[in-house]
Symmetry: C2
Subunit: 328 residues, 2 copies
């Protein structure tokens, strides 16, 4: 039997990158633990997915209601990647919207999964935003989630739910705490971390970019390529290898904002790097500065996940994937 895989947020940047990678691969681990052909890829989102492929079904929903999810999952879904979320600054600005999408959303996904005849694999994208406040400079794997924004609180709650549904045998669940994804293509979004991509992406496109965060702020980042590989790797891993802890601190690269700018200059030259304008924003600095900038991430390394080797290669990969003519 060919696999049916569902991606919530499947029309978003990470969701569609994941979809393309799965389609290109053509296979994923099936319920029997064996590599199996992907027969159907269902992409749920607020807008249609822009992928043409006979295996893709794009479903436009108004929200993650139980009805919409039941219609999308049917009775034969093998795996779900739950990526749909309201991002950090938006969830902070509109508390109720964040609770509805980020908390009621994962509950609806979990309840729909629980009703399937066979417990599906569920990969949930959590975030390092579950951490905040007073923390060691190098965050250990066993550190408590201490979110200092609503997005992080909602993600931490989602992790607890995924872990408990998995423990009860309702799903085979895994939660990945993603580092900040850099370089995200497209336009800025309402995530407090949006600057980290914008300060590289816009200058490479010939545009000025405002960096609201100080040069000495450390960030924990991962390229889109590695993030997609990690999501697929987490999905394909045997449950006994993943172990009882649902949430994993994924391993990333610890760099300062200043080092990111220096890498941009090395890879693309001083004209490009000169397009970064430094304009401190105290509100954003408080949020981003509250996120830890470095993690031990030993469990992720032991499970075989690999971070990007350095900042320069992250920028070069972005140029390869999105700027066929090179930087402007």
């Amino acid at each position: 039997m060919a696999l049916k895989i569902v991606i919530t947020g499947g029309a978003g940047f990470l969701g569609s990158s994941l979809a393309r990678a799965l389609l290109q691969r053509g296979t994923a681990t099936g319920p029997d633990g064996k590599m199996t052909e992907i027969g159907e890829l269902v992409l749920i989102d607020l807008v249609p997915a822009a992928i043409e492929d006979r295996r893709v079904r794009s479903i436009v929903v108004k929200g993650l209601s139980p009805d919409a999810l039941e219609a999308a999952l049917g009775r034969d879904t093998d795996s779900v990647f739950h990526l749909a979320a309201v991002v950090s600054a938006a969830a902070e600005a509109d508390f109720d919207l964040g609770m509805t999408v980020n908390l009621d959303g994962i509950r609806a996904v979990l309840e729909t999964c629980r009703k399937l005849p066979r417990p599906p694999r569920l990969v949930f994208t959590s975030s390092i935003a579950v951490f905040g406040g007073a923390l060691p400079a190098l965050v250990p794997d066993g550190a408590a989630a201490t979110p200092t924004n609503s997005y992080g609180a909602q993600k931490a709650i989602g992790e607890l739910l995924v872990a408990d549904y998995a423990r009860k045998g309702f799903i085979d669940g895994r939660a990945l705490r993603l580092p900040t994804i850099v370089v995200r293509p497209g336009r800025p979004n309402k995530a407090a971390s949006s600057f980290a991509s914008g300060m590289l992406r816009e200058p490479l496109n010939g545009e000025e970019s405002i960096c609201p965060i100080s040069r000495d702020t450390k960030v924990w980042i991962l390229s889109p390529r590695r993030a997609v590989a990690a999501l697929i790797g987490a999905h394909d891993m045997a449950p006994e290898r993943w172990g009882p802890r649902a949430a994993l601190n994924l391993n990333g690269l610890s760099v300062t904002v200043g080092e990111m700018a220096a890498a941009l200059e090395r890879v693309a030259g001083p004209t490009v790097a000169g397009r970064i304008k430094w304009q401190p924003d105290p509100a954003l600095q408080t949020i981003v500065g509250g996120w830890p900038g470095d993690f031990e991430a030993r469990r992720a390394a032991a499970l075989g996940f690999t971070p990007d080797p350095d900042m320069d290669s992250i920028i070069r990969a972005h140029i390869e994937d999105h700027l066929p003519g090179g930087p402007r």
Copy 2:
């Protein structure tokens, strides 16, 4: 202005003990931080509260619905103690019931509090059941919540919600992770920890008691007197002293089940202690053995909370409070 205080689960053992202590005291910290007379004490529960006092209003509800809570809190509630919960073994046996009462319940309480004209104080009873699995023998204050049962997961989620509502300024919130309360009066309940009281209480009442847990199992306990004092102490503490972390590992006493039996023999004699029958229950042993038996609880000590001095005094206090004629 006299205070209006609401206790959910106010007809239960801990809720009514707390109510009696508040009534006897007559005052609590008000919104201005000053000791203020308690004018009204609203006890919400599935059954009527058995306390006669002109200040008490007992409200019987079918569940913690937003409507019921809004009616109970009105517009003038100053403080809420949220104690209502489905206990551990019951939440494990009926997953949906646990989610409804323990998760939807705290959400309804928080939303009702948020709508009040002035953010109320909220004291939420969490539990050491948020911990489980592989943990250090002495659990540090910063250890991650790793629940291994649904009750613990729901309490951990409640803590995250209380913390985020407090951070947003919707409430002034505090969550206490209570140790196992010993000796609970009354009859056994469906909590996996029920044995810890039963093995002392029933023999003191002249009855046999089955202990399903092995003698070498360590438990982390607190007497009802100290638990009530801690709830009131947490309520009365200034928010800046409590600090940004909502959840506190309350300090208790670490004893083995065998030491509890030995204390019973010292306090009440060998005839009484001989009424304990040892009948291992692997399912309960797995749950209780998964809870850590010892905690650093440094923050609780620094905040001035004090545990019981020893096991013997816990048993003597139970005899004083509930067995006026002494052990049978």
